[in-house]
């Protein structure tokens, strides 16, 4: 029997491509996120959802951003379409592995150092990480009944397998960032952490975010109303973040 390599899963020389959708992120965390990503991924694919600030220009400043598409009209309210568009754009670059990143997410050093080990194997096709919602700053994360994302794993790193059946649920909001089809494939739940700074903002900014959620999903059709309300909690339970050695 010929000793052909596995036609689906390479164990070496896998290229890692980050994929992002961004919208008016120039004055937030986009620059440090792109800087960090540039240290450990091979390529970055970005869909700019009709930003009106300098987001596109900032993206172009990073050499690893090989593909950038700016939409003329925002698809923010058609999230399913936007996710699918980004996915198809990323796949068109023939990646080996894709890392789905938001413009306010930072992989801890240990995660970045483990990235090649995570992708150069043939036992599993996706990796889940523990995400932590930082609250009101970058020193503490929130941990209470409505804010428990760090207690489970979030799938953000996937092997791209041409020919597999990929699909997204047709939802308007809270669409999974990667095709749901990966749930059928074996995955690895890594004890590696990701810092999410989406809520590491001022009380006023959090209130604006609350209003946006309530406007988009007033009946809790796509998410939990209880969680939306908890954005306004006066004294949420916060836990100090401790860096691990890489």
């Amino acid at each position: 029997m010929p000793n052909n390599p596995d036609p689906v899963r390479k164990t070496a020389d896998n290229r890692l491509t980050a994929m992002m959708q961004v919208r008016n992120e120039a004055d937030r965390y986009l620059e440090p996120v792109l800087k960090e990503l540039s240290e450990f991924v091979d390529e970055i694919v970005i869909v700019d959802d009709a930003s009106s600030d300098g987001t596109a220009k900032l993206c172009r400043a990073f050499p690893k951003v090989k593909t950038l598409v700016t939409l003329e009209e925002s698809r923010f309210h058609r999230e399913w379409e936007l996710r699918l568009f980004l996915w198809q754009l990323a796949c068109s670059t023939s990646p080996d592995w894709l890392l789905s990143v938001d413009a306010d997410e930072f992989y801890e050093d240990k995660a970045k150092a483990s990235m090649r080990e995570l992708i150069n194997q043939d036992r599993y096709d996706w990796v889940g990480f523990r995400f932590f919602d930082f609250w009101g700053g970058t020193t503490h994360y929130r941990d209470d009944s409505c804010w428990q994302i760090h207690r489970r794993h979030t799938r953000t790193l996937v092997r791209y397998i041409p020919g597999f059946h990929y699909f997204y649920p047709m939802m308007e909001h809270h669409v999974p960032r990667l095709p749901l089809s990966y749930a059928a494939l074996p995955g690895f739940l890594a004890e590696l952490r990701v810092k999410h700074y989406g809520w590491a903002v001022s009380r006023e900014e959090r209130y604006r975010k609350y209003l946006r959620y309530m406007e988009r999903d007033p009946h809790g059709e796509w998410g939990s109303l209880e969680q939306y309300e908890s954005i306004l909690d006066e004294n949420p339970n916060l836990v100090e973040w401790k860096e691990d050695a890489p």
Binding site: M1, P2, N3, N4, D6, P7, V8, R123, I161, G163, F164, H165, F167, P169, L180, S181, A183, A184, L185, P186
Partner: protein, 408 residues
């Protein structure tokens, strides 16, 4: 045609009484278990003690066997035709024993009937000649006059049963009736799908019948089913659902795509070796081997066996052997094993199969000797002797039902 009925738990628990009323081309119908006179008066059957079957000319009988534990009796008596009535394992029976000997009984049968759709689909993927004793069409599909001159209106599956048994008695093919039932089931699930949209099981069953009917639309419904499984968090569907696409593509003839789909679903070392083998066959243009193997790994043994029986090479014989073993056609597998070069493990397997065939043929001593010989290489084979005793006890139980009734 005369019929001889072998029940599992006596006349009272016999689930196919109505079928006895509509048997085609009937002369006498005997039941191997006591039938109370009062009960008998309602049905045109005669009870017969087991010991009397030797006085019957078996070549004039079609046997309907409703318990796997009659297998030795049936192999000894050799009726002209054998209809195996397969059902789910009763609570009081040992599941492994029941399923194994049900499989072996079906392997010898000319026609399989069952009221379980799960067993039905499994059998449809294993062999020709399977009739489901269940239908969902409220319309009548014909009528017959029973021996008491009563007119009976037939449901769809009853009409198909009558046609299939009639074809069997006449030595004709019953393929058209089997196909007709697939079409009826496909139509039923299509209408159900229109009522309950996006249901994973309905779409899966619809895809299964379309697949049996060689209809490429199977892919469309399997896709819906696969997506619904994941949306409902039933994530263990890579083999049951996703891999099924490879069989559909193989039927359509896109073998490169089919192998690719199989490869995506392949994780164990054995599966990955199989991917390499499939790819090398693809490169060599051995398309029929590729197809047959993809059918086999999708449990469509029927399609695999059909292809492989037309071939004649060491590779095709080896695949045919695996299909025979997995579908309990063990007697047919033995000559293929004999012409192969066997490893020690293969020799053990061969002796286990041979020992079981001896047992089914009532060659008890040969069976024990064969199992003991194999146990020298692998002591686990000794469990076959325990299983042999289990089968004998089970067989005595079903036989005792008949004799007990007559002794009273």
């Amino acid at each position: 045609m005369n019929y001889l009925i072998f029940s599992h738990s006596g006349w009272g628990g016999f689930p196919y009484k109505r079928l006895l009323d509509i048997l085609p081309d009937r002369r006498d119908v005997y039941f191997i278990v006591r039938v109370d006179e009062e009960e008998e008066s309602g049905f045109p059957v005669k009870s017969l003690p087991l010991s009397s079957i030797r006085t019957l000319d078996s070549s004039e009988f079609t046997a309907i066997v409703a318990s796997p534990y009659w297998i030795q009796t049936i192999r000894e008596w050799r009726p002209k035709h054998l209809i195996a009535a397969l059902e789910r394992c009763p609570d009081e029976e040992e599941t492994n024993l029941w399923n194994k000997y049900s499989g072996l009984l079906a392997g010898y049968a000319d026609l399989v009937i069952t009221s379980s759709e799960k067993i039905y689909l499994e059998q449809c993927l294993r062999r020709d000649g399977v009739i489901l004793l269940h239908g969902d069409d409220p319309l009548s599909y014909g009528m017959v006059t029973n021996p008491q001159d009563q007119i009976l209106f037939l449901q769809d599956y009853e009409a198909l049963f009558v046609q299939a048994v009639s074809a069997l008695n006449r030595g004709n093919s019953f393929e058209q009736w089997v196909k007709k039932q697939w079409e009826l089931r496909e139509r039923y699930y299509r209408s159900l799908n229109e009522q309950i949209r996006q249901h994973e099981t309905v779409n899966y069953l619809l895809a299964s019948y379309l697949y049996l009917l060689n209809d490429a639309a199977a892919e469309q419904y399997l896709t819906i089913s696969f997506e619904q499984m994941l949306l409902k968090d039933f994530t263990g569907c890579l083999h049951s659902h996703y891999r099924f696409f490879s069989a559909i593509e193989a039927k359509k003839g896109d073998l490169a795509k089919a192998v690719r789909i199989y490869a995506i679903s392949a994780f164990s070392e054995a599966e990955r070796n199989r991917v390499r083998l499939l790819e090398s066959w693809l490169e060599q243009g051995e398309d029929r081997l590729v197809k047959a193997e993809l059918f086999r790994v999708n449990e469509d043994y029927r399609a695999a066996i059909r292809l492989l029986k037309e071939m004649n090479s060491p590779e095709s014989d080896n695949l045919l052997l695996q299909n025979y073993v997995q579908t309990f056609r063990w007697e047919e597998s033995l000559p293929l094993l004999d012409q192969s070069r066997l490893s020690d493990d293969d020799k053990t397997v061969r002796e286990v199969l041979q020992g079981t065939v001896h047992l089914i043929h009532n060659e008890r001593h040969l069976a024990v000797r064969t199992f003991l010989r194999a146990s020298v290489r692998d002591w686990n084979v000794l469990s076959r002797i325990a299983e042999m005793l289990q089968l004998e006890q089970a067989a005595n139980r079903v036989m005792g039902e008949g004799e007990k009734g007559h002794a009273e």
